[in-house]
């Protein structure tokens, strides 16, 4: 491939110019990867904190009573809703922990331990004690445990909605990553909850649904609300401000990335244009010797490809270094490199480089060898 051979020789013979443009592309792609990964990780962290430990869609009865056939509904959702990771029927009630004049309210959820684990990720969030929901056991948050000076194995007393006291053994203490949740939420087994609420075996307060795609909650809720006996509430409708913030963040991130790419494109285009001017004489000679317009133009396409591939690969390395360096900084979350996004950034870098060669290719194609050979 003669055009490739000439292109690589032209680049090798101008090492400083070649090095600078490769460095320029590398920095652009590295910034692209770093900013993209930072924003993605930041958003993932924020979303995980916000909805990672809560149901994404909650189904309740339209008439505010128990949900009829809740377990059947949960089973049906798990079978027929492709985006549902888990659906679990739960019984919920409020209780109060009273110590002298101090009272602390608790929102208690009673449900199957496996289902609750998928919804809240409890088994991995228990920091003391065990993840166990046997009859008479309760899982409380770190905030509540601290306020009541309770530890795993201790017995606590709560006032249930009918005013009667009930004792629970603390089987484990969890940390859901949010102070409010750690202070106000607790979990018990479904049978004890049924007793407290005087519910029969088949009666449940709600069905909690966890999704594989958190941003599909509004759509899924809309589908599930087709059943006239239930109401579906999705987390997105309850966190619209957060969503607006995330969208604004994504928008500004995309804008930054577009401008970085434009800067990279301008850098490559200007360097190739300068190279085309610098090599006018050589191209004219090659054309006089019989090189066709397309083959001459290919020289600059190859130059762009070499610069784009070299710069993008260097950018991948530099981006990885930046992210690794960020990982060493004392920040509360880590940036994850998305291989797909990094590969896409590198491909975009190569495509931008190729697109930048259009002007020099056109200039080269139009070059008349006579202009060159008659001058010294």
């Amino acid at each position: 491939m003669l055009s490739l051979r000439i292109a690589s020789r032209f680049l090798r013979m101008s090492p400083a110019q070649t090095g600078l443009i490769v460095a320029g592309i590398a920095v652009g792609i590295a910034v692209q990867i770093f900013v993209g990964s930072l924003i993605t990780s930041l958003q993932a962290d924020l979303i995980d904190t916000t909805v990672g430990s809560s149901p994404h869609v909650t189904l309740t009865a339209s008439d505010a009573g128990p949900v009829a056939g809740a377990q059947q509904i949960a089973g049906r959702i798990e079978k027929s809703e492709p985006l549902a990771a888990s659906a679990v029927a739960v019984r919920t009630f409020s209780a109060i922990s009273v110590e002298g004049d101090d009272s602390v309210p608790l929102s208690i959820t009673g449900g199957d331990s496996t289902g609750l684990d998928i919804i809240y990720g409890l088994s991995t969030r228990v920091v003391r004690g065990d993840y166990s929901l046997e009859a008479g056991e309760i899982l409380v948050g770190t905030g509540f445990a601290e306020s009541r000076d309770a530890d795993a194995g201790d017995t606590i007393e709560l006032l249930t909605p009918d005013g009667s006291p009930r004792s629970f053994v603390v089987s484990g203490i969890f940390d859901l990553g949010a102070a409010a949740a750690n202070e106000r939420i607790a979990f018990i087994d479904p049978d004890t909850a049924a007793e407290v609420l005087s519910m029969s075996d088949g009666e449940y307060s709600a069905v909690y649904v966890k999704l594989t795609d958190v941003f599909a909650s509004a759509d899924v809720a809309q589908r599930l609300a087709a059943d006239p006996d239930v109401e579906a509430i999705d987390w997105q409708s309850q966190n619209s401000e957060l969503l607006t913030g995330l969208q604004a963040q994504s928008g500004s991130s995309a804008l930054i990335q577009v401008f970085v790419l434009v800067a990279v494109a301008l850098g490559i285009a200007s360097t190739l244009a300068i190279s085309a001017v610098q090599k006018t004489r050589q191209i004219g000679i090659l054309k006089a010797m019989g090189m066709g317009d397309a083959q001459a133009g290919l020289i600059f396409l190859w130059q762009a490809a070499i610069l784009g591939v070299g710069g993008s690969l260097a950018g991948l390395g530099l981006g990885w270094l930046l992210i690794a360096g960020f990982g060493m900084a004392p920040v509360p979350f880590s940036i994850r490199i998305e291989p797909g996004f990094a590969a896409l950034s590198a491909c975009v870098g190569v495509l931008v480089a190729l697109a930048s060669s259009i002007i020099p290719i056109r200039k080269t194609s139009r070059l008349d060898p006579i202009e060159v050979i008659q001058s010294g």
Binding site: L2, R5, I6, R9, F10, R12, M13, R281, Q282, I285, L286, K287, A288, M289, G290, M291, G292, D293, A294, Q295, D368, P369, I370, V372, I373, Q374, S375, G376
Partner: protein, 236 residues
């Protein structure tokens, strides 16, 4: 000798309307295979325009150029480039070597453009050509590391590599001293005799033109003399 090249009523006009300039008018001649000829003319006489038309670097406003009986007038840019590569070797006043490449790479470049592989055959052909021009041993040297005379000989080797039927040389010794000039013309003559390649050398120097077998004189864009046997009119 068989006819290699025929120019028929070549005319070249640059520009249009009031600014139109006729650079060449009604130029017709034939050149035989292996002929050793020159085109002479003062600066601005139209000789370089004629060379560009004969070398298929430019197209005439009217008239046509035929190579071995084939009309080139209707050929597109791509086809003319292919014909240039296979039929014609160029030697320019300013040698125009590619500074990024070695002597060897410069010499084989026309063959690579033609699609040849850089294999043993091509290497031996290039070494043979370089040997013919007294450049053996310089293959790996950078084109920029040569003297003016050596550069011009490398340019001649490059022009010969595809074994063209015709070498078009435009003031090939314009930048050389007397000794090198004489050496280059001796070389042209020797190469022509050994390879049967026709030469058409453009020069403004009568003394140089007189070393060729046939002199075509261009004045004011017209072919005013076509003299053989090394005789040129004193008034020319």
């Amino acid at each position: 000798m068989a006819e290699l090249l025929r120019a028929e009523s070549l005319e070249k006009i640059y520009g249009t309307g009031e600014t139109a300039t006729r650079a060449l008018a009604d130029v017709s001649f034939e050149l035989a295979e292996g002929e050793f000829a020159s085109i002479i003319g003062q600066s601005g006489s139209g000789k370089s325009t004629l060379l560009n038309l004969l070398g298929l670097l430019d197209t005439p406003t009217s008239g046509r150029t035929l190579y071995r009986g084939e009309d080139t007038a209707s050929r597109g840019r791509r086809e003319r480039a292919r014909l240039r590569n296979s039929l014609i070797g160029f030697v320019f006043q300013f040698h125009h070597l590619l500074p990024e490449f070695s002597v060897f790479e410069n010499v084989i470049m026309p063959s690579l453009i033609a699609g040849a592989r850089s294999d043993t055959d091509l290497r031996s052909r290039a070494e043979e050509t370089l040997g013919l021009l007294g450049l053996s041993g310089l293959e790996g040297k950078s084109a920029t590391a040569l003297s003016g005379g050596q550069k011009q000989r490398v340019a001649i080797a490059r022009a010969l590599i595809n074994r063209p039927a015709l070498i078009l040389a435009d003031e090939p010794t314009g930048n050389l001293d007397t000794t090198n000039t004489a050496a280059v013309y001796a070389l042209f003559r020797s190469v022509s005799a050994q390879t049967g390649t026709a030469f058409l050398i453009v020069t403004h120097d009568r003394a140089v033109a007189q070393q060729t077998d046939r002199v075509l004189e261009v004045r004011d864009g017209r072919l005013v003399q076509d003299v053989r046997n090394r005789y040129i009119s004193a008034s020319g």
